[in-house]
Symmetry: C2
Subunit: 120 residues, 2 copies
């Protein structure tokens, strides 16, 4: 670990770990005391580089980050924008993909639809 696990960094990691879902830099900035938004961004980048967290690519305006737990996928509710996590067997998944001449390193599944908490 070629960096210091400062209080601020611990705070960011704790937030991500405990939230159990994806958070944006702004989300984190609002929930932590005395931390510059720049620091949030810089540390998120660091954590991603160190593979401690993952940058999630959905179609949201802001980049989203999540704590590395187990490999999983995301469902986004088009009504309330809530992000739900789910799993799938990667081996089985890989068998279904009709892809050739490609060395697969990672598979991400993004589902869009509606969760049960419908809005009007």
């Amino acid at each position: 670990m070629n960096f210091k696990l400062t209080k601020k960094r611990q705070a960011i990691l704790a937030l991500l770990k405990n939230s159990g879902t994806t958070l944006s830099a702004q989300d984190i900035f609002e929930r932590v005391d005395d931390m510059d938004l720049t620091t949030v961004y810089r540390n998120l980048d660091l954590f991603v580089k160190e593979k401690m967290i993952t940058k999630v690519v959905l179609n949201t305006d802001e980049d989203l980050y999540e704590y590395q737990s187990e490999p999983h996928h995301h469902a986004v509710c088009t009504d309330c924008n809530k992000v739900i996590h789910f799993s799938a067997c990667t081996e089985d998944l890989e068998k279904l993909l009709r892809i050739k001449d490609f060395n697969i390193e990672n598979i991400e599944v993004t589902v869009r639809g509606t969760c049960r908490h419908k809005r009007v």
Copy 2:
């Protein structure tokens, strides 16, 4: 169709249709004559709204767009950033997803890895 299919719009659609892959607004701007970048953006938004094209969510800096052909998925080469299309049986795919209480409307699979055109 509550809009005019102008020459410029036809040009954008033709480009997307013929390219067979994803293009950014900038890509299109560079390949079309006498068209403002703003016009490209506005028409891409229009086409997406009209469901004539799709905005593809990968982790690239620019938004990417593609012509609606058949449902398919994307593989991104982490070496050369090339985007490859492939298909998968949606029904089979859906069976693998361990997701509950969610009304699935769309499944997108994004694969990351390397294609065969390795860079040094």
